[in-house]
Structure formats: structure tokens, C-alpha cells
């Protein structure tokens, strides 16, 4: 979907993108990174808005020379308000469709469909100026969808939403790839959102891509199966003591659950053996995985 080969962008002495090479694919991709990581610059390069050196292709089109064609096939939902004063949602979305090359009738039909899909229903005829934050977010999503893009850039789509609206927005985002066949690049501060909806992640830091891969790969990126979460029928403390004697590091989470860091050459066999020795029954055992937030911080930490 997106291929970057030696992508470089400098603003004076500042290297905003430092020879980035990556292949980005997936259905819903989280674009993560601290402020100044280069995400905005990357988006601008991908949309063909600013010149750069190196090669970048989006949907098989060169971002350097075919920016206009890319923008016809890509939808962008901005973080900030980007409306036209005095317009109703349906007028705005129709106008957006026409500006993306759709004939007027088609643009109008798709504007109604996109707004209905975004959950605005009858409110789509009202002026946007009077909308709540949640409704404005829905209009932003609809205007990004109206021209039938193959790829969507969503910039903080759940910003300022109450829990119910946030849930509804995330449901829509999750539904989009299946129903409309469009991939999504989701730029957000909210890592729980990424954890919930994304299947892939791109982590940027200091102008470089530090991680590209699936969320599962990100969370288990250390590739260790010596970090376990163990659940016992009772007396987790007793198993913890026994494993500590065998060189493991244990943290009792609750009466029935403990975290275990096995010694370097240890396997889960050790846990079962020590449990059997002490007459304890193992109810569950799984390789402990990081949350996206922990993994994100670890990737940034590794990069420093």
C-alpha cells in the first residue's frame, strides 16, 4: 500500500525524515510517535504536498509526481476543524465529492450515504456551525469518505469525544475496511484506541521509522517466551516462593495469579514441575505480552 525507499526531508538543518525505508501494509494501521517524530511531514510527503528526496509510493502512485492522483484516491480526516462557514453537512460533503472529481449528482448521493453511515441522519441538513464536537467529528469522517477513497488518513478521530461517541467512532473505523474496502492510517495520541482497532502499527521517532509490523508483533516484539502470566487454583504466593528458589523472578498479582520471569534457560516446564512438587494446580499459563502503550514506550526507549 505504501512503500518508502530512502525518503528524506530536511527543513534547513532539521532532518524531519531521515532516509526512511519501509513497507506499510494492513487494514488499520496506527501511526504513532511523539511530537516532532516526523508523522506530519510523512503525511505531507505521502499526499504529494511537499517535495522530498528518495522514493515514496502510495497505492502504486508516486507521491513525488502524482500527488493530485493520490489525493483523489485518499481521504483525509483532519484533527482541527476544516469546514466552510454557513454550510450544512450535506452541502459540505457534496462539495467535497465534487472537488475530488465526482459528478454533482453522484457526489450528492454519496454525501447522503456517507453522512448516514457516519450516524448524522436527519441532522445532516443543519448548518455545521451549530454541531457538537461529536457531530463535527462525524462530518469530518463523512467528508473524508464521500469520494470513495481506497485509503483513509484519520488524524485524532476520537479527540474530544465522550465515551459513547468515542466507542461509536471506533466502531465505524473498525467497520470501514470490511464494508468499504478501504485501509486506514490512524494517527492518535490514544494508545488504547490503537490497541482496540489497529492490526498494524508504525512507530516514528526523530524522523525515522522505529517499528513497522503487526500489533501482535509489537506487543511480543521481544520474542521471549520466558515472561509468563500464571494462574493457579489457589496460593499463588506458594508457587512464587518455589519458583524463586529455582532462579525465577516472580510477582504475585493476586491470590491466584502471578507474573513469572524465568531464568535465561528456563522453560514453562519448570513452572509445571514446581507446581506439581507443591501440589498446586495450574489453571492458566500464557506468555506475558505488553500493552501497546508499554511496547510503544519500549520502542522509543530502545531508539534513544
Amino acid at each position: 500500500m505504501i512503500e518508502l525507499d530512502g525518503l528524506e526531508k530536511k527543513f534547513g538543518a532539521i532532518n524531519a525524515l531521515a532516509k526512511v525505508t519501509a513497507t506499510i501494509d494492513g487494514n488499520i494501521i496506527g501511526l504513532l510517535g511523539p511530537n516532532g517524530a516526523g508523522k506530519s511531514t510523512l503525511l505531507k510527503c505521502l499526499l504529494g504536498l511537499i517535495p522530498f528526496s528518495g522514493r515514496a509510493t502510495v497505492l502504486g502512485l508516486s507521491a513525488a509526481t502524482e500527488g493530485s492522483a493520490i489525493r483523489d484516491r485518499v481521504g483525509y480526516m483532519p484533527e482541527q476543524e476544516a469546514f466552510l462557514a454557513g454550510m450544512s453537512a450535506v452541502e459540505l460533503c457534496t462539495y467535497a465529492g465534487e472537488l475530488s472529481g465526482l459528478p454533482r449528482t453522484e457526489a450528492m448521493q454519496r454525501a447522503h450515504a456517507a453522512l448516514y453511515y457516519a450516524g448524522l441522519e436527519d441532522k445532516r441538513y443543519q448548518p455545521i456551525d451549530g454541531y457538537s464536537t461529536g457531530m463535527k467529528q462525524r462530518v469530518k469522517l463523512a467528508q473524508a469518505l464521500v469520494h470513495d477513497p481506497e485509503l483513509l488518513f484519520l488524524d485524532e478521530p476520537t479527540n474530544g469525544l465522550d465515551p459513547k461517541s468515542r466507542d461509536e467512532m471506533l466502531t465505524l473505523i473498525t467497520d470501514l475496511p470490511d464494508r468499504r474496502g478501504c485501509a486506514i492510517i490512524l494517527s492518535t495520541h490514544l494508545l488504547p484506541d490503537v490497541e482496540r482497532v489497529c492490526d498494524h502499527a508504525v512507530i516514528m521517532h526523530q524522523g525515522a521509522v522505529r517499528f513497522v509490523g503487526t500489533i501482535d508483533e509489537l506487543r511480543g516484539a521481544r520474542g521471549r517466551d520466558t515472561e509468563l502470566t500464571v494462574e493457579v487454583k489457589a496460593d499463588a504466593q506458594k508457587l512464587a516462593d518455589a519458583l524463586t528458589e529455582s532462579g525465577a523472578t516472580c510477582t504475585v498479582v493476586s491470590r491466584i495469579q502471578l507474573s513469572v520471569d524465568l531464568p535465561a534457560n528456563g522453560t514453562s516446564e519448570l513452572v509445571f514441575r514446581r507446581a506439581k512438587d507443591h501440589g498446586l494446580q495450574i489453571r492458566g499459563l500464557e506468555v506475558r505480552r505488553e500493552s501497546v502503550e508499554t511496547a510503544f514506550l519500549r520502542v522509543l526507549g530502545d531508539a534513544k
Binding site: L31, L32, G33, P34, N35, A37, K39, S40, L42, L43, K44, L47, L49, S68, A69, R71, D72, Y76, P78, E79, E81, A82, F83, L84, A85, G86, Y95, A96, E98, L99, S100, G101, L102, E106, A113, Y116, Y117, G119, E121, Q143, H147, D148, F153, D155, E156, N159, K164, D167, E168, L170, T171, L172, T174, D175, R179, R180, G181, S187, T188, R196
Partner: protein, 297 residues
Amino acid sequence: MSETASTIHDLGYKRYLGTRRPSSTRWRVITRHQIATGWKTWWRYKAWLVCAVINTVVAAMFIFVATGKTFHLGHGLATTFADFALPFSIGMFNKIGFLISLTIGAGVIAGDMQSGAFTFYFARSTRPGDYLLGKLAGYGLLIAIPTMGGPFLVACMRVGLAGYDNLSELVPQLWLLPKALAVGALSTLVYTAVPLGWSAMVSNKRYALGMWAGYYLIAGGVFAGIGMSTDTPLAAGDLAISLNSVAGYLFDTPIREKFMVGVTPALISIGVQAGLSIALIWYQLTTAQKAGVGGAT
């Protein structure tokens, strides 16, 4: 992924397989939208259009009713009502053009900057050139109806209603038509490009309106005052004087020299101010295109 209670509303999505209009036609969409926006509220445009119609009717009455009567302008200057009706109505049409520039023009780009609409435009295949051309054409057309269409209509009436004894008297008067169009085109340029330039200066409609009004009325007045008192072409800095001077020259109107500047400085002044305005808009647009989209985290 957690379960949610929210419902997906779908009217039956189908991928769009039709052809897309070429990106070179985007400016027409913007033009149409600009015209529709201007037409929307009666006080922004339609009210001034009514004034333009009244002005045309009054001019027609003077031409038809008082054709041969002499009109004394003071300082020994005199002309017939029929001859004076056209340049006088042009002055009124220009005033209407200025009023439209206040109610619509000054807010066109400032309003888009204020509402973040540049992101809306430039995240699509719209290019700065499409935006510029679309806005100039759309708003320009709204301005051209009174400032170009009005004088042309009055010129037509001057040719058709004034009454001629023979064809040889009529033929020279036909030159009034292209002259009226030329003056109207200049007025359209002035009241389109310059207020849009001021509109591109600030991202606040009211400030843009105040700045344009201040520039046209106060700075223009200062230029005119200095020019008149020093007898230099500096008065051409006043756009109204420049337009009146060109009109006066083309229609050979007896206006006191004190209130006129030469045609060359007038045209240079109009050209420079319109050119600078368009250059400023272009700069703002290209800057906004590069700055308008981005990530967040």
C-alpha cells in the same frame, strides 16, 4: 476488540466505478460554489444588485427624457444629460462594486483561513491555482454583473434611446459599447483582486473587512489629497480616482483636472495593486497547502 452497542447505518455501499472529472476542472466547482455562497443571503449581494438596477433605470431615464438638455457641472464645465449619464452611472456602479467587496469580497479568503477550509481544499486534488482561479472567477462574476454589465447596459441604452437624426450620428456612438466594457472590466479587476488580496492578509473576516475599507477609503483619500495638493500622479493610488480618470478619458467627460490623474499612472496603479494582491493570495495559498495537513501524536 470489545463489543459495542452502536449500530452501523449503511444505505448500501458500492464502490464508485465511474470516471472522475480531470483535476483541471476543479476551479469550476469552486467558482460555482463561490457564486452560490454570494447569492445565498439577500443583503450581501441581492440588495446591491437591486441598487444597480435602480441606477440603470435612473440613467435610462436621464438618457431618454433629458437627452438634449445641458447639465452644468460648475467651473464652466457643461455637458448634456445623455452624455453625462453613462460616466455618472459608472461612478455609481463602482460604488456598488465597493459595497459588494465589503459584504462578500473581504471575507472570501479570510473566512476560509478562519474556518480551516484550506485543509479541506488542499487535502484533495485541489491545487492553489484551482482555488485562486475559482475564487477570482466566482467572486469576479458577482462583481462583474453590476460593474461591467451595468455600464454596458447603460451604454446600450445611450446608443439606442438617445435618438439620432441619421445613421452617421449613431455609428460613432457605437464605440461607447467596447469602452463601457473596458471600463467595466477594469472596475471588475479592481473590486475583485484587491479586496481578495486584503482578505488573504488575515485569518479573520472582520479584520480583513476593516483593513480593506480603511485602505480604500482612508489610505485612498490620503493618496488623493497628497496627489491633488502636490499636483503629482500620487492620486492614482486612490483606486476610485484611477477608475474615474480612465472612464473620464474614454468618455471624454468634462471633469476638473484636479480630480483626475493621467490614464497611464491610473492604469499602472490599478495593475500594480491588482498584481500585488494576486501575488499575495498565491503566496498564502502555497504556504497553506504545505502547512495545512499533518499528524497529531
